[in-house]
């Protein structure tokens, strides 16, 4: 990466979020150091999306704080986010990427070069001039990830990136994500898919009803979770 000083670790200090007078995310604390893939695991409604949004800054915590490493301000936003349903602008595949780069302040030559790089890297070069919304679901999510990648994030957030995809496309996205981690990008993603968490996670943050119940290395978590909630979830007993 280009930066000398990193924005990581990300420190979440007792960040809570309430909406409509209801506490939706309890004051959870955790840190995300550089490297690896952290999975936010939990059933639907556990507050995974909200937690990602709090981290990414789309939501402001009602209490507590989300902090980046000292001196991270003023050097551009070096974290990006990919959403559950790919948000495709009504433009060409390439223009979807250049638009995000323009928003980040890149000049025209830089936009073109970095978009070409991203298209190549994510296997979309042949689709560059096609309308993005006509891509298949898997291709759209790939473009969404490529678009985020072009922004050169240190930390990439993904909110259930494969929940709307078929198994083949899911596999492809999972391989891509492993590639990004190998490249040195720190990844934090939410999923309710246990198999996916087992395949990808280096670390698991298990959420239940807005509360961070467990924070453990993935292999420890899957070998023997400490909490009753996590045990129930791993056993496939439905909870929400």
């Amino acid at each position: 990466m280009l930066s000398i000083t990193s924005i990581l670790p990300l420190t979440v200090e007792a960040a809570a979020f309430s909406g409509d007078g209801k506490l939706l995310v309890e004051p959870n604390s955790f840190t995300i150091p550089a490297g690896g893939l952290t999975v936010l695991l939990g059933p639907n409604g556990a507050g995974k999306s909200l937690t990602l949004r709090l981290c990414h800054g789309l939501l402001t915590p009602s209490r507590g704080a989300v902090r980046w490493a000292a001196g991270a301000e003023g050097r551009g936003k070096r974290h990006a986010m990919v959403f559950q349903k790919p948000i495709m602008l009504r433009r060409s595949v390439e223009a979807n990427i250049t638009h995000a780069l323009a928003a980040a302040g890149a000049n025209s030559a830089e936009r073109k070069a970095r978009a070409a790089q991203a298209l190549q890297r994510f296997g979309l070069a042949e689709r560059a001039s096609q309308p993005a919304r006509l891509l298949s679901g898997g291709e759209q999510q790939r473009l969404a990830i490529g678009r985020a990648w072009a922004l050169r994030p240190e930390l990439l957030f993904l909110d259930e990136p494969t929940s709307q995809l078929d198994p083949a496309a899911t596999r492809q996205i999972e391989e891509l994500l492993s590639g990004l981690v190998a490249e040195g990008i720190t990844v934090m993603m939410s999923t309710h898919d246990l198999g996916q968490a087992r395949r990808l996670a280096d670390r698991v943050l298990f959420l239940h009803r807005g509360r961070l119940v467990e924070d453990a290395p993935a292999k420890d978590f899957f070998a023997g979770p400490h909490s009753a909630e996590a045990r129930a979830f791993l056993a496939g007993e439905l909870l929400w």
Partner: protein, 233 residues
Amino acid sequence: MDVGAIFQAAFALVVGLDPGFLGIVFLSLRVTLTAVLIAALIGLPLGAALALARFPGRSAIIVCLNALMGLPPVVAGLAVFLLLSRSGPLGPLGLLFTPTAMIIAQVLLVLPIVIALTRQVIEDLWSEYRDHLRSVGLDGLRAIPTLLFDGRFALATALLAGFGRASAEVGAVLIVGGNIAGYTRTMTTAITLETSKGDLPLALGLGLVLLSLTLAINAIAFGASRIGARYAG
């Protein structure tokens, strides 16, 4: 004159490119297109801002704008007349009974349509794009250029709706323009006058042009939405 002869004379006017006839058509187009252009320049950003902004009284403004889409042209004409008449606040400008006065009146008619439809289009688009645009740092008013561009096909239809309304109305341009031959006589005011005078070929010829214009607008609107669908998927 029987109906067949009237049609024949009308066609002769249209095909023969009679200068007086063409003058009326061109003035109509000039007034209406200018009004739509001005309404677009004001209405598109304003409608988009209204879609994104949250402030007290916003709902009341939206309801009023929606109601103004049905503003009777004669009332718009009357309002502009009072504004521009010699004793009115803008009387000293001497604009009454000029094409400029007609443009002002038509802007008044088209603007609510453009603002209200733009607000709807942009609000829908924003709810779809919000997460991504905010994620890349385009929040609030900074999101407007993206939203206007991506809503281009739907917004083109909104402008055509405005054009359709302005080109078809007679009340406003008649009141503030005065239907002065060769100066403020438009297709609709001419049709009104010639019909009552009994010069049916001229009225009918102009009617045919108006009708083809409406047809063309609808064809363009249809084409725009088709092209839009190709991009929107």
